[in-house]
Symmetry: C2
Subunit: 337 residues, 2 copies
DNA sequence: AAGGTGGCTGTTAGCGGTAACAATAGCAGA
DNA sequence: TCTGCTATTGTTACCGCTAACAGCCACCTT
């Protein structure tokens, strides 16, 4: 029994496996891809040789030859806010069976970076792209439109998709929340959220929110923005600032659950009567909230479902229309009276 | 002025740009990669043609021809626990200037999945790989060892790296925490953590922790495990369970900050004197803790730094030795007396 | 016995780029 | 004017794999 002595300088190719097993490269290729007919004994020989050598196929060459790439580009703004990981889960779940593989790119909410991430991804000729949001640079839209692959824009449907869109209407979500708040009798409502030059979805929620307020003859009594840092801490700080500046405020609407949770903890620590004296609401429905002393009112963003639907479109499992709208449910929690 | 009429069926190649600009494919290639000498007017012509057509280079072909791939595989167990996003930040920061691009793969703590993610990644012939942990299947280790590219195993250094390792000693971290707890006078210490068939780092921390307890003649008075679900909520539940089962416990050591935070909120809600009656500590130093009513004792895992160092090794910016050990600092917070 | 037929394996010709080298032109110096 | 050199551009030969098709052989069929 000779020890397999792989030349350490030379990376293995089909030819090595072919020589080791005494068949043609083509046959090796067929065995390794499970395609076409190969007799059982040949298959065995090849597989053993490949295993013994430790051969790892070169997908670059394979992709070039077959004009097929089993990659799906996923472009998202951030990994650290607990919302996209869940989308990824949905995507992976669906893609898992299909031989397709997600490849993640992060843009940090920077349009330039988004453009270059998209460019980079497209240059690998993926089978499809999933991209957060409907707002992209002209160049990015053009590239995507010309790529000749399915493009699914996710999270948001308030706008014109390049190809397909799967998401919720953030404008409507904002409106709905405002209506619920007003119906509960709150009147002095403040907004606390991200400084959002490029968080278009947060912006749309706020637009919808203010729209509904206006319809009821109300306007925001205060607003406070932040950027960067620990969202939970920022939530505390902003809440303190607002309560200090506008003592008679009776509702705090947060642009996301994390700062909302910070605000909730702050109010509880201050002994403020929630939701009697002040009501609170966030957005996203992150599972973090389940562990809070009191459950923050929120609206889930259908993240898992969005991921799944998007992946299904890419995988061709669904002949969806252009827009797939999902409907978030309002979870009143314990912070709206 | 004729409108550029890109055949919508046909994806563009260098040849299209070459024909549109009247130079050879090679020259176009040179312009687009900024390599070799090309006269200014030619460069202009080519760039304009490429832009007008909306040409996106095919990296697959480029990579095959040049035997160079600007990708770095990053294999991590999870995206949703707030620890890896920060590692990714460190990696991106360093890689950004180098032309290298990270590609993330997620294993969900499943060894089989890790193996297949590694296989898949290697088949794209990346320039390097960064992988969480030192424990991998034999096959995975073999593949990585033979790949002929720099392999950096991160987070942990208690073991034998394939190539390079950048991380902290979790055993030592556990020991240190135990020593601090004992020194503070706590004696009835319980552990609460993940059901960790494959979270080797949590396991090592616990080992180190118990080792130090043993040296002081102590053993854990209770332990509680969980898996899945909202970590914050699980922290509450587990804490309740332990306090109920072992009323005289005086310290709760959590395997991560998230469940620790849940425990802290629970204790505070119960009006328990922290850190007088009961002390608490977690692990990781996630920024989430900054927003809590009281600061949980923890140990930062040097995540950003680990990401940076690993990327530097891959980028060849550092001729680091085999192991790079970083030293976490104990943050006592407000939950150790 | 000639002519299928199906199962298996091999051959050929690229896929779309790039490395390496060849070719050409323009120009200075001898 | 001729040589030598530099700056620029083109040509050729792959990179490692797969689609498409060709070939071969055993086994039927009629």
């Amino acid at each position: 029994m000779t020890k397999p002595t792989p030349d350490p300088r030379h990376t293995l190719t089909l030819r090595d496996v072919s020589e080791a097993s005494g068949v043609s490269e083509m046959t090796v290729s067929r065995v390794l891809r499970n395609r076409g007919d190969v007799s059982a004994p040949t298959r065995e020989k090849v597989l053993e040789a490949a295993r013994a050598l430790g051969y790892v196929p070169n997908k670059i060459a394979g992709a070039l030859a077959s004009q097929r790439v089993n990659l799906v580009g996923v472009v998202i703004p951030s990994l650290s806010n607990m919302v996209f990981p869940e989308v990824m889960t949905g995507i992976s779940e669906v893609l898992d069976g299909t031989g397709l593989q997600p490849v993640v790119g992060v843009t940090n909410y920077l349009p330039d970076r988004e453009e270059s991430v998209i460019y980079e991804m497209l240059s690998w000729r993926p089978s499809g792209m999933i991209i957060a949001g409907l707002e992209h640079s002209t160049a990015a839209r053009a590239m995507l439109g010309r790529a000749g692959i399915p493009i699914v824009e996710i999270m948001d449907i308030d706008g014109d998709p390049i190809n397909h869109a799967v998401g919720i209407s953030h404008r409507r979500a904002g409106r709905q929340m405002a209506e619920a708040i007003i119906a509960a009798g709150y009147r002095k409502i403040a907004f606390l959220g991200t400084q959002m030059p490029n968080d278009f979805r947060a912006k749309k929620r706020l637009e919808g929110f203010e729209e509904a307020l206006a319809k009821a003859g109300l306007t925001l009594v205060d607003r406070e923005y932040y950027s960067g840092g620990s969202a939970l801490l920022k939530g505390r700080e902003m809440t303190a600032a607002v309560l200090n500046r506008t003592p008679d405020v009776d509702f705090l609407y947060y642009s996301n659950d994390m700062i909302g949770a910070g605000g909730l903890l702050y109010c509880l620590a201050q002994g403020i009567d929630v939701p009697g004296r002040i009501g609170l609401a966030g957005f996203n429905g992150v599972e973090l909230l389940d562990g809070l002393p009191r459950k923050l009112a929120t609206m889930d963003a259908c993240r898992l479902e969005i991921g799944k639907r998007a992946a299904e479109i890419i995988a061709g499992k669904a002949s969806q229309g252009e827009k797939v709208e999902l409907f978030p449910t309002l979870q009143r929690g314990d912070t709206i009276r």
